[in-house]
Amino acid sequence: MIDKKHIAIIGGGIAGQEAASVLTGLGYKVTILEKNERMGGMLNKWSKLFPDFSSSQLVLDAVKVATDKNLNVICNADIFSVQKENGRFKLSDNSSLDVYADAVIMSTGYNLFDATLKEEYGYGVFENVITSADFEKVHKSGEKLTTADGKAPRRVAFIHCVGSRDAKTGNTYCSKVCCITGVKQAIEVTQMWPECEVFNFYMDLRLYGSKYDALYLEAQKHHKIQFIRGRLSEVSERQGKELQLKAEDTLQGRPLRMKTDIVVLLIGMEACKQNEDLCRDNALELDENRFFKSKNIYNHRNSSTQSGVFLAGSCICPMSVNESLESARSAAMLVDKSLKVQER
């Protein structure tokens, strides 16, 4: 019989909750430590999901762990230290909370790139420059996207790779989900405003997942979204808060200027800053992109460099909702396997 081994999960987003469901199902005692007031993590900020426009609430409801006598959820717990003590792990936050566990799952998720750092794009300065996360907020509220002074936009431009694949921001990796997010949001703009012209400026279109290309086809066929291959160099503001973009249409080989009412920056995913703290008192390591380093990225994606500590979801690398959930389930299975091996 399985005894009541205890597993601590740091981060109560979808990955943390999914892992908790699997583990409580297997009879383990589980504590989820969430740093915010409520569970759900970043997905709380999203309205509809690619590629089929399901409501993100569906996923949030589905991962909600059934109340279980073996499950303990602690919110507002900002864990900053994980230490090995007599074969167990001691997790502490900056108040007086200490939690002891036999194994730990890191599911700390990701941060969104701070678009104000990309100064030449004018976020935080020009009111009509928004981010993909701002767009989700508008969509979720049920309102239509308008210019800062409440007008229907005649033209909207989406900018790919903001804070990703950009040495100037220190992030040279691809965030993987923003191309498909850009296609999804572009369609959503035309659903709000059928007369609005929508342009997506990209360096490479990376729509890597199952059914993603179907969404791209739909964007072209039914929504007349225009895709322009060229990196935006800057945004400036003109009279009436209208924006002007400068890019090169690289397929035509000529510089391009465009006036637009709204610019949406498709911001990338970054590793959480607190990951550095979480590595301090143990053998955990970060990779070159500041995400948690796996023991190896093929067979041991969910194993960290500290035995007994496992990784789930987008604290490993940028991931979609699907991938995050799959990653969480495999992390949970790995925890089970390792605790059983210990017992023998």
């Binding site: 790779c161 060229g230 990196r231 935006l232 160099s233 090169e248 690289t250």
Partner: protein, 115 residues
């Protein structure tokens, strides 16, 4: 020469084998960062010279990489060396220096020719 030469007009295809990589080698030896260009066009979009003339700094880089060096010497004269291209490059390439090196590389090739 065959009298039926007109039946075989000059091919429009790119002949990879015939690429002249002398200037490319010269540039890469001195500015390795140029290896990673992805032709995103950020440099061209911001380029001072490119907004006034037909000068296209991204295409210059591309021609160089493809060993198409015939027109380069006239083209690079249009650059004002303001450095804006380098400021926007997502790959952190010193593209201003690439243009400068093309100029130098061509000059060197010419001196070699006259020797």
């Amino acid at each position: 020469m065959s009298q039926f030469d007109f039946l075989q007009p000059k091919s429009r295809q790119i002949e990879i084998e015939q690429f002249d990589d002398r200037i490319l080698t010269y540039v890469l030896e001195r500015e390795q960062s140029f290896l990673t260009c992805i032709s995103c066009g950020g440099c061209t979009a911001t380029c001072s010279a490119g907004n006034l003339t037909s000068f296209n700094v991204r295409k210059i880089g591309l021609s160089l990489r493809r060993g198409n060096i015939n027109d380069l010497s006239d083209e690079v004269q249009k650059c004002m060396f303001c450095g804006k291209c380098t400021l926007v490059c997502p790959r952190d390439i010193n593209i201003r220096n690439v243009v400068l090196l093309i100029k130098k590389g061509i000059a060197q090739l010419e001196t070699e020719k006259t020797l």
